[in-house]
């Protein structure tokens, strides 16, 4: 191990980890047909593919959650079988799951060390050391989080950071990151990348799963593409291109990722006037016109989602007001917001956008019950007709409309949430991170959908942490920094540099 340099792992050496022709099915669904991956020491290896390509199943095999029906897992050239997650941990494999898996009632420090807390005499937990080590990890990640606070209420980005700290704490040899950057801002992503470099220098292998191909090229040495549960290709990133990867992932070429059409701008739909919620955001004023897509950009924690929540009436603002189509909304009333024609697609679709255990059709109809209702009853048939109409329009990929929403992939779940609100024909649609954790193909569809909506005259307020998305989609960009508007740019003025400067608070004087 000491001799193995960061990027100079000799070819002759046996690979650190190999998943060899693994397969796994659930009932009739073959989630993994022929999974193959090879990780070398000191390598950052990307695993890409559309949702449903079998990446998550492969990860869960490494985690000891699933046992493959056929095929083998080789660690250091020796076949290993993980029956439990504990065995996978013990073998030096750490996994950062896509959905944060924290314990809300435990402290941040305990969350990092659960099951492997540092001990002192008598097998007692050494809390002081635990705290110190967590602080060290957070310093390494460059974040300020109180190790003693309970995890309940942490933002998704902070939860992700705790997950990353958890994986780093174990001195693992193989670190699997399933979409670790989905909720992070650029600064946090940069820090994560530096951590990955440190891990590589230690001789660990990092399996990096991401839908952001630019990150794949920036971070990884090799990339493996999967499609329909099968291994498609593994090659050095230096020998491939975004276009080639996308082609391998979807089996066809995609047109431009952001099919933005500039629509005709109509009357003002939303007018936000000096909206303030103490300690969260201050004096936020802007407007959105019909046919316009306005992006709300900024770092995570700048108050973007909170502004959206206040507009929709979830949180009560301390001062200021919201007007829709010239009429002032009563504060803190989502019902009034809906009646005024606002649709809201929240950031956390699993928690706030969907009722996971109930069927696709019911989820879709949920916001339109008043229209489907006959007296006090909701006829099943009209619910189904309604759902299948929208499923076709949004090109939803599903088994049966009566399947639970949880059976769908992330991208298709997002389409249900969109359908739910689109069916109400909103005059203003607020979308919070509309494409987070969604594969490229579906992402383009969501973008096209938003673009079409704007064309039909819907005003769209979009919150996004992905700069390419903001630049590609928005007619105007409003940037928040620590709860205040720090910049506003037209499509022509907006650039990565101008937005990042405003988001970091650099351009404050210029904007004010």
């Amino acid at each position: 191990m000491p001799d193995a340099g960061p990027s100079s792992a000799p070819e002759s050496e046996a690979p650190l980890l190999v998943v060899d022709h693994a397969s796994k099915s659930f009932g009739a669904v073959r989630a993994l047909e022929d999974g193959w991956i090879e990780l070398r020491r000191g390598e950052a290896h990307a695993l890409v593919g559309e949702n449903g390509a079998g990446k998550s199943t492969l990860v869960k095999i490494l985690a000891g959650v699933y046992r493959p029906e056929s095929g083998r897992v080789l660690l250091d050239g020796v076949e290993v079988v993980f029956d439990t997650t504990a065995q996978s941990h013990a073998a030096g494999i750490a996994i950062i799951f896509q959905e944060p898996t924290l314990f809300p009632d435990l402290t941040v420090a305990e969350n990092v060390f659960i099951g492997s807390q540092p001990l002192r005499s008598g097998r007692r937990i050494d809390r002081r050391r635990m705290r110190r080590e967590v602080e060290l990890l957070f310093d390494q990640l460059g974040v300020k989080l109180d190790p003693d606070r309970i995890a309940r209420g942490l933002s998704i980005a902070d939860q992700q950071i705790v997950e990353i700290a958890k994986a780093l704490s174990t001195d693992a040899r193989v670190i699997v990151m399933d979409e670790p950057t989905a909720a992070l801002t650029q600064t946090e992503v940069d820090r994560l990348f530096r951590v990955v470099e440190t891990l590589r220098a230690r001789g660990a292998a990092v399996l990096f799963i991401s839908h952001r191909l630019d990150e794949v090229f920036a971070l990884c040495q090799r990339v493996t593409v999967m499609r329909d549960g099968r291994h498609v290709v593994t090659e050095p990133v230096a020998e491939t291109s975004t276009q080639k990867l996308i082609h391998a992932m979807v089996g066809r070429d995609l047109d431009a990722l952001f099919p933005k059409v500039v629509a005709e701008v109509g009357a003002t739909v939303l007018k936000v006037d000096r909206l303030t919620r103490e300690g969260v955001f201050t004096d936020v004023s802007f407007s959105v016109n019909a046919g316009e897509i306005v992006a709300l950009a900024g770092l995570v924690g700048a108050g973007r989602s909170e502004v959206a929540r206040a507009i929709f009436g979830i949180d009560r603002p301390d001062a200021g007001g919201v007007e829709v189509n010239g009429r002032r909304l009563p504060p803190a009333s989502p019902n009034a917001a809906m009646a005024a024609g606002i649709g809201f697609v929240p950031e956390d679709r699993r928690q706030q956008g969907l009722v996971m255990p109930i069927s696709i059709e019911r989820n879709m109809a949920l916001a339109s019950l008043d229209r489907l209702r006959r007296f006090l009853l909701i006829p099943r048939l009209s619910e189904r007709r309604f759902a299948s109409e929208w499923a076709t329009r949004l090109q939803l990929r599903y088994g049966r409309l009566s399947d639970p929403a949880s059976s769908l992939s992330g991208g298709n779940q997002q389409k249900i949430v969109l359908a739910k609100w689109l069916a109400r024909r909103p005059s203003l649609l607020i979308v919070d991170e509309p494409t987070r954790g969604i594969d490229v193909g579906t992402k383009a569809e969501v973008h096209r959908l938003l673009s079409d909506l704007a064309n039909e005259g819907v005003a769209i307020l979009m919150i996004s942490s992905e700069l390419p998305e903001v630049l590609g989609m928005a007619d105007r960009v409003i940037v928040l920094f620590e709860g205040r508007i720090s910049g506003e740019f037209d499509r022509s003025e907006a650039s990565e540099v101008s937005i990042m400067r405003a988001a970091a608070g650099v351009a404050t004087e210029a904007a004010a």
Binding site: A86, L106, G115, G153
Partner: protein, 347 residues
Amino acid sequence: MSASEATVPVAQRARAHSVAEAIVRFRELGIVLALVIVVGGTAIDNHLFLSATSLQQLLSGAAIVALLAIGETLVIVTRNVDLSIGSILGLSAYMTGDIYVHNPHAPIGVVLLAGAGLGLVCGAVNGAIVTLCRVPSLVVTLGTLYVIRGIDASWAGGNQVGAFSLPDSFNSIGYGKVFGVPYLGIVTIICVAAATYAMRQFRPGRDLYAIGSNPEAAHLAGIPVDRRVFSAFALSGLIAGVSGVLWLSLYGSVDSTAGTGYEFEVIAAVVVGGVAIFGGSGSVLGAALGALLLNTIANSLVVINVSSYWDQAFQGGLLVIAIAFDRLISLRLAPALRTRRSTRAAG
């Protein structure tokens, strides 16, 4: 220029947040405060409430419920519930009486071991059905509550074992004292202290909290979820079995109805003591203090001449208030925690 304006509300929020968190973290203090108010208020009405005999009664009376509350806390913290403890206590108490009827010179150690063994078996059955068959514990232990009570009833029939059948050495556990402190009180205090410490300081204890807080994540973190849940039920049963023996030594006579309804008294104590009914948080110390508080209120009602019929209404009311309080705190706390990234500097 705007920096000072911006920091003021943040600091206030930080303070509000830390106060809210302190209430949650030191829930035990609140119960102690309630205890002081109840005892003080009653003592003003009747100073005998603070006499040694009265305090001894308070302690002994609360001891059994507090012991049972230890086991119940272990189970509730894992997002489960054990309704069978009252029946286990009853069966163990009757078995103890029966041992003495047939064998008047049985050593106390053997009797305690028998009670513990019986409880352990009952608890293990609960745990096995919950973990192996994936049946919700509410259903499993509601079933075993009746099954065990049925076994007790068919064994005891209409029989009653009275104090005259029990050796003096045994009865003395119930009323004996060291320096004026009842044995039962001492045993309970030691057990509560040990369990509180263990739940805080050892990995298996933390595992129980983790399981109750997020079962799915506990599984992914490599925690042996089933083994821990099984152990919690087994321990709860064991404690109920031992409590049955102690119960008999305190009350001196037993029939087939012994311990009926104890499960609800214990769950009320646990919840009033700040253990979240859906798992993940709360302490054994809090649960034991909850038991002491409920018992003290019951006694104080007698002292201030409120009909004892009101006792149950008070207990029920307190239970609802405790749960409502918990919900309120977590509802108020969640936004306070969400609004900003807590920093080390602030903490």
